[in-house]
């Protein structure tokens, strides 16, 4: 459903992403792993329409089977196509309540009943958010904010859910919980592109994986293959 060919990202003279190609099929979890500064966020942000200096081809094929070129379109266009991003660092609106943050995620929709049903669905995925529905986003703990960020990205009812480091700053037990929920979201039929530094957790749930190093893809394979790959073991899994 998403075909990336020769994607390059430039920030002025900095060449952050070199000619990478990836493909994501409907229903998969695909993960992109790599160290700090490898270009993971740049890639995912380019797909979301947030990066001005992105060149190459990013082709989206929606349910209607019509291919669309994404580069050069604004982020709101991607959301309408069915792509949503939970950004790095959560980016919860601190002065809005939990529920208002979720409503914001549903901005492009106007089916009141459907939105309400999806809010309930998010509360079932993350029961802790329900207890805190009227609380200001800024007063949530880091883990709760991460749950809210994932839930908010679900509220547009995306075909492709992109998550940028959902494990960032979470305690190991919470990482387990969030990754279990990601798998569950996927089992319900949503395609997921997962950017992670926590390679072990990501590779375990991913169907397909890409390793990014200083802006270029150096390895790819199934999650299971890369878990066994000696180079990956050494560099990302602590030997």
């Amino acid at each position: 459903m998403l075909e990336i060919k020769n994607l390059n990202v430039w920030y002025g003279a900095i060449h952050a992403v070199h000619d990478i190609s990836m493909s994501i099929a409907r229903g998969e979890i695909v993960t992109l792993i790599g160290a700090n500064g490898a270009g993971k966020s740049s890639t995912i942000r380019a797909i979301a329409g947030l990066v001005k200096g992105a060149k190459g081809q990013v082709t989206w094929t929606g349910k209607d089977g019509r291919p669309v070129q994404l580069l050069g379109r604004p982020p709101e266009y991607m959301v309408k196509l069915g792509i949503s991003l939970s950004p790095e660092g959560r980016r919860i609106l601190p002065q809005l309540t939990v529920e208002e943050n979720l409503m914001l995620g549903a901005y492009i929709r106007s089916d009141k009943d459907g939105i309400q049903a999806d809010i309930e669905y998010c509360y079932r995925l993350f029961p802790r958010l329900k207890e805190r529905r009227g609380q200001k986003g800024g007063t949530l703990s880091g883990g709760e904010q991460q749950m809210l960020a994932v839930a908010r990205a679900l509220m547009s009812h995306p075909d492709l859910l992109m998550l940028d480091e959902p494990s960032l700053g979470l305690a190991p037990i919470l990482v387990e919980e969030v990754f279990a929920t990601i798998s569950e979201i996927n089992r319900e039929g949503r395609t997921i592109l997962l950017v992670e530094q926590n390679a072990y957790a990501a590779l375990r749930i991913a169907r397909k994986a890409y390793v990014l190093e200083t802006g270029a893809i150096t390895l790819q394979g199934t999650g299971a293959e890369l878990l066994e790959n000696p180079k990956v073991k050494e560099a990302y899994l602590g030997g």
């Binding site: 947030l50 982020p75 950004p87 980016r91 609106l93 809005l96 914001l104 901005y107 492009i108 547009s156």
Partner: protein
């Protein structure tokens, strides 16, 4: 001072203050989102006043229709200012947009002097609004009650939009984090345009009421009320609509009451606002209802 005189001053202060408040809302909303002082805002106020003057007095269009035309006309001008002078500078340093704002303001003022001449023109008030009536021992004209009532109704309506609608949610969200708001599918340009439209429409209403109250229009009539409304916005807490109204009312009361109780100070009337600005910046820079922008990473 007897009680009925006090009530007279009280209604004056309420009227003046609520007009400052209406103008201040436009400053505060635009600043809240773009961190930009829209210097041209006072000129939109002036254009609203001129448009109603031309529509109803020059071209004898009925008042009801003339009001609509004036508000729509000034709103269109406000949108045009954003489109031409601010939108191209969205990614530029803030100082560029500020300079552009000053430029637009001078442009509108001078173009108005050319187009409308600098000579003040008298506004003929509709009789209906001027028939005095007695409220207890006080004699009032309908206009002086209408001004605060209309202002409060509009401000309340705006608060409803901001806190109860999707567009309001987008506005509140944009003022904190533009990028994340875009990721939710919000078109930033459209939301900013909506903000300018609302601010300009309110300024136009204030301009029309001002023209009726001090019955004349002139090209520079927006400058002083504009400055004062800006101070009201800072006083109330930049970014807060309720704060803008509160700031406007405070300023109206300080101005009217200090002159009423100390007539000797009447020459300093315009200075009070600026003294207030200095004091608030020294004592409480976030204003009465302003929130500190705090983010948790």
């Amino acid at each position: 001072m007897n009680f009925s005189m006090f009530l007279q001053h009280f209604t004056n202060a309420l009227g003046l203050g609520s007009m400052y408040g209406l103008i201040a809302i436009g400053y505060t909303m635009v600043y809240g989102i773009l961190r930009l002082i829209n210097f041209a805002h006072g000129d939109i106020f002036m254009l609203g006043a001129y448009f109603v003057f031309f529509a109803t007095i020059q071209y004898k269009i009925p008042w009801a229709l003339g009001l609509v035309i004036a508000v729509l006309g000034a709103t269109a001008c406000g949108l045009l200012v954003d489109r031409i002078a601010y939108r191209p500078l969205r990614d530029a340093p803030r100082i560029s947009a500020l300079i552009s704002a000053i430029g637009v303001s001078f442009f509108i003022e001078n173009a108005s002097i050319v187009a409308f001449t600098g000579v003040p023109r008298n506004v003929i008030q509709p009789k209906l609004l001027m028939e005095p009536f007695a409220l207890g021992t006080v004699r009032l004209i309908p206009l002086s009650l209408m001004v605060p009532v209309i202002s409060f109704v509009l401000a309340a309506g705006l608060l409803w939009v901001i806190y109860r609608t999707k567009q309001g949610l987008a506005m509140r969200s944009i003022s904190h984090d533009i990028e994340t708001t875009r990721l939710m599918g919000v078109s930033v340009d459209k939301t900013i345009a909506l903000t300018f439209a609302i601010g300009s429409a309110l300024a136009a209403v204030a301009g029309i009421m001002w023209a009726l109250r001090y019955p004349k229009v002139e090209p520079l009539m927006g400058m002083m009320p504009g400055f004062k409304a800006f101070i009201a916005a800072v006083f109330g807490g930049v970014g807060s609509v309720a704060g803008a109204m509160l700031g406007g009312l405070s300023l109206g009361f300080i101005e009217i009451m200090s002159v009423a109780f100390f007539p000797k100070l009447s020459g300093y009337r315009d200075a009070f606002a600026f003294v207030l600005l200095i004091v608030i910046l020294l004592v409480k820079p976030t204003g009465l209802l302003g929130e500190k922008l705090e983010d948790k990473i």
